[in-house]
Symmetry: C2
Subunit: 172 residues, 2 copies
């Protein structure tokens, strides 16, 4: 899938590479989109737990660094590109991908609610929106340019989200 | 293309819908990716000129509103999705898409350089990066969720970019 996208993913090839009979693969998933749905729930469940550094800045920088590492990874980067591309024209994949991000955002949202309790973020800040703001510039660069992401991009993504949170822009 | 993506775009169909001979279309473009490249340069050239409201806030809100309208448009929204998806697996399209965004960012960058001259943005702010920050959360939501963008999302995208600019995060 990373090599040729969802449309290039053939369940028969998957069976060959997994060394199992193709009936097994077809009976279990039926379509490439269903297989990707399972892959995404597994990735959501197994992905790194949120940080708890004691400061909102420390936590959001850790989140940005994780997104940077994921998108820059030789295997995961192309995989995410392929899944996002597939989601644009396949509803099953779109809903699985949305669920993946919802799960990851829910994992990291307590960084913001803890910060509110500490007085480190404005009362009423929507923690999900605040966490998504960290990823936004990294994904935008990843998907609309051919420039490689750098650790400095991740630093700035975290700092920009912190500035927007401090300005009260994510209050409901 | 909006209906079925770049891989579903057949030059013979294009010729039929345009009411011209298919040789004309093949001789002019040769491949669907080349046709999309021309489409993107035309879109970049014909897209709305930048705002000049006299304030950075006014200009960035106008930029965010334009991105919102484009991505929410019944025809342009699916077209951008299809082009971004195609860019993930086709180098010609990726480079045409990057050139499209570079052109649009260059059109709007003077909003930031003018703001610097007026003392409305920190000295040394990278105008291109600042403009891209406005689009980022809108594209991120557009591509990774099934939630429709709202005018409030555009307002917040502009305000978040303004907060990050004021914090000096786009200084070179």
């Amino acid at each position: 899938m990373a090599a040729s996208g969802l449309s290039g993913l053939d369940l028969t090839d998957v069976a060959v590479r997994a060394g199992v009979g193709k009936t097994t693969v077809y009976r279990r998933w039926g379509s490439a989109a269903n297989l990707v749905t399972d892959l995404l729930s597994e990735m959501a469940a197994e992905s790194s737990p949120r940080s708890d550094t004691g400061s909102l800045s420390g936590d959001l920088h850790a989140n940005a660094a994780l997104v940077y590492r994921t998108l820059s990874d030789e295997r995961q980067g192309p995989l995410f590109k392929a899944m996002i591309a597939a989601a644009t024209c396949d509803r099953v994949t779109a809903s699985a991908l949305e669920h993946f991000y919802d799960t990851r955002v829910a994992e990291w949202a307590p960084c913001v609610t803890d910060a509110i309790s500490r007085g480190d973020a404005p009362e009423g800040t929507n923690s999900e929106s605040a966490i998504r703001q960290v990823s936004a510039p990294l994904y935008y660069q990843f998907l609309t340019t051919t420039k490689r992401l750098t650790p400095a991009d991740a630093e700035r993504a975290a700092d920009a989200a912190l500035a927007a949170i401090a300005a009260g822009l994510f209050r409901n």
